[in-house]
C-alpha cells in the first residue's frame, strides 16, 4: 500500500499512528495540550475498523491501571497525558515496571510544577528518565522533534517496549503536539491474533492452557532474595538497552568547535541558531539525543575531546544538562540556556547565549 502524505498536528499524528501500528487499546483522560490525541481517536472510530478499543477513563489513575490490565494480557495498549496527568500516573508506571509490562506512554509536556501552565515545556525530563515513581526502574524514552517522529515513534516505542519488556515513553512537548507538518503515514498493520500474542508473550495472563502453570503478573514479591533476583534480571535488560538502543542525530558536528545539545522542540530552535551562527563563521554543531534513556553518553564523551565547550538548551532549568555533564566527566564546561514556565526560546536568544560563552 502507498504511504500517504498528510498535514497533521503532532497529537493527531499519534492517534493515526496508533491505529495503523495495530494497537489494541487506548485509555486516557483529556488534558491540554494533548487532548487531540483522544479526540482524533474518537473521530476515527477504530473500533469499527481494526477493533481497537478507545476509552475515556474517569481519571489518569484509572487510565494507567487500565493500561496495566491490558498489557498484562499481552495486548498493545497505550495512554497519553500531559505533565500534571502524568504525575498522577506515576504509581501505575512504577507498578508496570515492577511487573515488566510492555506499554506505550505519551507525555506532551507543559510548564510546571503543579498545574503550571498549558504552554510548552521540557521540565519532566527528570521525572521520565530518573524515575518519577518509586523503585529501580527505567523508561525507554523517545524524544520526537517533528510531527513525523510522533508518527514513527509510536510503532518504534511499542516494538522496543515488547522487545525488552520495559514501558516506553514518548516525551513530547506542547510545540510538537500542537504544530502541524506534512507527515507520511505508514500502511496499516493488522492487530495481533490471540495465537500470535500467546506465542510472543508467553508471560501474558490471558487464559491458562492445559500443560502449564498459571501466569501471574505482579510487581509484588515478599521474598527478598527472589525480589533481588528479579531486579538483577531487570538491570541486565537495562544494560542491554543501554548497549544497543542509543539513538541520536548529529547536525554539523563533524568540524564543530562548540556543541549545542538539545532534544525535542528545543533542538528545532537550536538548528536555526546553528545555521545562523555558521553563517557568522562560528563553527557550532548540534547533537540531538533521540533516546533520552538510554542517553547518548558515549558520543558526547567523544565530542568532549574535540570541542571548546558545550551548551544545553532546554525548556527547563537545566535537567538534561546534568546527564551531559556526567557524560563529559569534567572534560569540557557544559553551559545551560533554558526558558521555563511555557516560554519557548527564539533562535536569536540561543545564538546570543552561545556567543556569550565564546
Amino acid at each position: 500500500m502507498k504511504n500517504e502524505l498528510v498535514l497533521l498536528k503532532g497529537n493527531e499524528a499519534i492517534a493515526h499512528a496508533a491505529i495503523r501500528c495495530g494497537a489494541d487499546g487506548y485509555f486516557g483522560y483529556p488534558i491540554t495540550p494533548q487532548s487531540e490525541i483522544m479526540e482524533t481517536l474518537m473521530e476515527l472510530r477504530p473500533w469499527d475498523t481494526t477493533g481497537m478499543v478507545v476509552l475515556q477513563a474517569e481519571s489518569e489513575v484509572a487510565s494507567i491501571n487500565m493500561v496495566f490490565g491490558g498489557a498484562a494480557t499481552g495486548k498493545k495498549v497505550m495512554t497519553s497525558s500531559s505533565s500534571p496527568g502524568v504525575s498522577l500516573m506515576q504509581e501505575g508506571i512504577s507498578f508496570s515496571c515492577g511487573a515488566d509490562l510492555p506499554m506505550l506512554l505519551v507525555n506532551v509536556m507543559r510548564g510546571g510544577p503543579g498545574l503550571g501552565t498549558i504552554q510548552p515545556s521540557q521540565a519532566d525530563y527528570f521525572q521520565t528518565v530518573k524515575g518519577g515513581g518509586h523503585g529501580d526502574y527505567k523508561l525507554i524514552t523517545l524524544a520526537p522533534s517533528s510531527v513525523q517522529e510522533m508518527v514513527d515513534f509510536v510503532d518504534l516505542g511499542f516494538e522496543l517496549s515488547f522487545k525488552y519488556l520495559i514501558p516506553c515513553m514518548i516525551l513530547a512537548d506542547g510545540v510538537i503536539g500542537q504544530m502541524m507538518e506534512p507527515v507520511t503515514l505508514p500502511p496499516y498493520k493488522p492487530r495481533r491474533t490471540a495465537e500470535q500474542i500467546a506465542a510472543e508473550c508467553p508471560w501474558a495472563a490471558n487464559g491458562k492452557p492445559a500443560g502449564r502453570y498459571r501466569n501471574v503478573v505482579t510487581s509484588l514479591e515478599l521474598d527478598p532474595a527472589k525480589m533481588e533476583k528479579k531486579n538483577e534480571v531487570r538491570q541486565e535488560r537495562f544494560r542491554l538497552v543501554e548497549a544497543t538502543e542509543v539513538r541520536y542525530e548529529e547536525f554539523l558536528c563533524e568540524d564543530a568547535d562548540y556543541l549545542i545539545v538539545a532534544f525535542g522542540s528545543a533542538a528545532r530552535v537550536c538548528q536555526s541558531a546553528v545555521e545562523d551562527l555558521r553563517s557568522q563563521g562560528i563553527k557550532v554543531g548540534l547533537l540531538r539525543p533521540i533516546t533520552l534513556w538510554p542517553f547518548p553518553s558515549k558520543v558526547l564523551s567523544k565530542y568532549a575531546e574535540k570541542v571548546k565547550c558545550m551548551m544545553t538548551v532546554e525548556l527547563n532549568a537545566g535537567q538534561m544538562n546534568e546527564d551531559v555533564r556526567l557524560a563529559v566527566n569534567g572534560k569540557v564546561h557544559v553551559y545551560h540556556y533554558g526558558r521555563m514556565g511555557g516560554i519557548v526560546p527564539t533562535p536569536e536568544e540561543v545564538t546570543e547565549a552561545l556567543k556569550s560563552h565564546l
Binding site: 491540554t32 495540550p33 506542547g174 500542537q178 504544530m179 507538518e181 506534512p182
Partner: protein
Amino acid sequence: MTKEAIIIAGFGGQGVLSMGKILAYAGLIEAKNVSWFPAYGPEQRGGTANVTVILSDSRISSPVLNTFDTAIILNQQSLDKFESKVRPGGILVYDPQGISRKPTRTDITIYTVNAMEIATEMDNVKAFNMIVLGAYLKVQPIVRLESVMTGLKKSLPERHHKLLPMNQAALIKGGEMVESLSV
C-alpha cells in the same frame, strides 16, 4: 522563493488559525516544506489568536520564530505586538477597521485590505479570512490560487464544499482590493 515565514494574528474567531492551515495545505500541495504552529489554549475562546506558518524549499528548522517575512494583522493588539517583528524589507498586511494606531515602520512594505467591509458587502462575514488571504497572495504570490482552493477542499468537511465558490470569490476580491500604503 526559498523560505517565507508568516505570522497571522488577530482575534479568536476571525479565522486566523484556519487561514494559516489553508496556506499550509496549499504549500503542501506544491510540495514545499511547511510548518504551522498556533498560540494555543485560552486564545481559542476569544482574546488574541496567532499562528506562525513557514513555507520553504528546504527543511524547516525552528517552527517558533521571533522575526517574520510577513505579518498579517487583524487587530490593534496584534499590530502593537508584531509590527516590530517584521524583518526589514518584509511585508505587513492589515485590515484598517478597528486600527487606531497605524503602523509607522518605513523599512517594510505595508498594505491594507478593507476585508471586513468587503465581507459585509459580499453579505458573508465568514469570507473575511479568505479576503485577507487573497490580498496577501496578490502581493506575495508564494502559492497559486488553485493550490489554495485544493487546500481548502482538503481542510473543509465535505458537507461544506458548497461554500467553495464563495471562498474563491473572496480570495479573488481580496486580491483586487489590496492597497499599498508605500509611496
